[in-house]
Symmetry: C2
Amino acid sequence: MTLDTAVHTHPDPIAEPRQRVLDAAELLFMERGYNAIALRDIADALGMKQASLYYHFPQGKEELYVAVAERAFARHYAGMAAALSGNATLEVRLNRVAAWFGSQPRMCLMGMVHADLPALHPEQTRSVTQSAFLGLFRPLVEAFANAQAQGEIGTAEPNMLAGAFLALLDALSIGMTMSHTPERMTMAAELINLFLNGARAGAAHTREA
Amino acid sequence: MTLDTAVHTHPDPIAEPRQRVLDAAELLFMERGYNAIALRDIADALGMKQASLYYHFPQGKEELYVAVAERAFARHYAGMAAALSGNATLEVRLNRVAAWFGSQPRMCLMGMVHADLPALHPEQTRSVTQSAFLGLFRPLVEAFANAQAQGEIGTAEPNMLAGAFLALLDALSIGMTMSHTPERMTMAAELINLFLNGARAGAAHTREA
DNA sequence: TTTTGCCTACCGAATAGTAGGTAGAATATG
DNA sequence: CATATTCTACCTACTATTCGGTAGGCAAAA
């Protein structure tokens, strides 16, 4: 049962080593942040020497980090588009987004923006910020704007809705690592329920506007 | 109008130097994270030499960071209690919490938990985590539990509500540094409105549960 | 005369980054 | 087919810098 039914563009049986480096670097960078990870940590995780990383990323640590971030956001660009597409209700599509996030390496977007991006050179900061905007923020903004146009949600600023939702996804990721009691998608569904219906939903005296 | 109505514990006309060190360290640590700040940066901000910091904090960087975090959370313990006290509606009290946060040095709780705490020794991690729990998390949990008991909000898990609200405060803080368009308290009020009433509030087809 | 609050001067470890070598696979050449 | 060459993907060994941390001195205040 040969599994080389793949296309002629070689499916990388050994996986392109550059991607292997990116994989290891992504795990570490996203887990502890840019400043907490030494190139040696990444090299160790790969079973190679720190200097060898400069073969794949001659510009060094910052280039590697930017490549990691940009690849991750490119993945999210596709994953978010898939999750948010279709005719399903916004609630269903937001749950798909949460599921997509759960399938990806943990990323703390707030921490990244707050601590990692300022450590890069300004142009790299702008580049990564732009990729994050395209991959994560804008898809949500457009989904919310569409949901508003179809009367599915109220008239709140879509940018704010997207930022709030991404913050809740961060909280979900952190909450899962700290208190490991609840199932992840259960927690996600409750957060999305909170996001859509608010904390007042089901309150005794309904002060609904 | 002398404002030294303060207690007999001297109001520190020159400010105890230890507090000055903590002030400078807090600004830097909270702005860029534990790993991004060198003791030299803090010393420079104070106009002193790096080695001199060891006079005030003989155990070094980690002790300084823990002292900074614990003092900040102690302040929040008082500030949150004040903001959440009284008979006002939950909405008013949550807005007071947001105002209180705005009056304090910017802190990215998500980034702190995600990147800074794991860099400390386990016991220090536990100690700071406990202070954060007492100063930020528990007051919110209790406020939400009370609001539930009085039928002001629905029956969602108070822990989740507190985590979600703290995440939204983080998002507010980060959103203000990135897009400086809106007024802070305006933004805060809209986020709290979202938190309480949900994105569906005011939607055309009300699918309220 | 002791304490406070800083200083200078140093140390070892770790860091990002550089220079140059090399085994083996792939590719071109006779 | 055999041989020469290039390319890939690392390696060892090194440098300069920065880091957290230590030791001891010193001036002014208490």
